[in-house]
């Protein structure tokens, strides 16, 4: 479009909705200025436990029904979920309970989204010729944040360096 390369590109919550996130990321890198940086946000797989089974259940219950019927049907379903359901048990995902349609639709009715483990993000970035400079907030990506026992805090080790293959799916941030 004739724009000059961008020094900073913020891409929050977009790539995980694309059919080909890697292609989307490549398009961003193509317009990133030399010495520029990207700020990105992608869905996290573990924190969204329960979301995708609920999405699949809604999709199957809705069948070929009208798109306009799906929100009401999905709300009815989420209200009727049994206590053992993983979405109901996930206290960290509350978007569908906030009352607004946009958050509800985005969480449970979006036609396309996927979530990532950190290792998968490392692979996605590496294959785009990028390196991650920091996860935010940094403290949430340190094992010691979640460990109180001194012996356990000493035990985590970084993953072996990547030698061409993908990062392990559960590899911690370096």
């Amino acid at each position: 479009m004739g724009w000059r390369p961008f020094d900073y590109i913020d891409c929050c919550g977009v790539l995980h909705h694309l059919a080909d996130p890697a292609a989307g990321l490549a398009a961003l890198v193509a317009v990133l200025a030399t010495g520029g940086g990207l700020g990105l946000m992608l869905y996290g797989e573990l924190g969204r436990t329960g979301v995708y089974p609920a999405q699949r259940a809604i999709a199957r219950l809705a069948g070929d029904g009208k798109a306009g019927e799906r929100p009401a049907l999905a709300r009815k379903l989420t209200e009727a979920l049994p206590d053992g359901n993983w979405l109901k048990r996930n206290d960290h995902v509350m978007d569908h309970l906030a009352g607004d349609d946009a958050g509800f639709y985005d969480l449970l009715l979006h036609s396309r989204d996927r979530a990532y483990l950190v290792g998968e993000i490392m692979t996605l970035m590496a294959e785009a010729g990028l390196r991650i400079s920091a996860f935010m907030p940094a403290g949430a990506y340190r094992p010691e944040t979640y460990l109180n026992d001194g012996d356990l805090i000493e035990r985590p080790r970084p993953c072996p360096r990547r030698t061409g293959g993908p990062w392990p799916r559960n590899c911690p941030a370096p």
Binding site: G37, L46, G47, H92, R131, S133, A140
Partner: protein
């Protein structure tokens, strides 16, 4: 491993640069010309709060934690405005302490700032905005 321990990271926010770019990325170490900034927070309010109670509660990855700060922390925070360099903050602190005959060398300040940074940065509250031109 942290995300597996947490189980609560429903999004991953991060910064990236080109792999070949060795010059840019997260700041390393503390240099006098670095400019620090509080994120989405008023320095005077945080400093006043920490003067009364030298600790803060925060939730990281779904875990609630309490962090204690040093007695110097409020004075340092009060001088963070997103424009002053560490050298300037140190200078102002020294000037104030000079009145009480206490001295704070650069290594002393570095130690104090480092302790504060190591609490506030992991919480995404304290960042580096850049550096002044020497």
């Amino acid at each position: 491993m942290a995300e597996e321990l947490s189980g609560a990271l429903k999004t991953h926010a991060f910064y990236a640069v080109r792999r070949a770019d060795k010059e840019h990325g997260a700041a390393q170490g503390f240099e006098p010309r670095m400019v620090t900034v509080l994120r989405e927070m008023r320095a005077d309010r945080l400093a006043a709060s920490l003067s009364q109670l030298p600790g803060l509660n925060a939730t990281l990855g779904g875990v609630s934690r309490r962090f204690e700060v040093s007695t110097q922390a409020p004075a340092i925070i009060a001088l963070i405005d997103g424009k002053r360099s560490l050298r300037q903050i140190h200078g102002r602190l020294r000037a104030r302490m000079g009145k009480t005959r206490a001295k704070m060398s650069w290594p002393d300040f570095q130690g104090e700032f480092s302790a504060l940074f190591n609490i506030l940065h992991p919480l995404n509250m304290l960042l580096f905005a850049g550096a002044t031109l020497d």
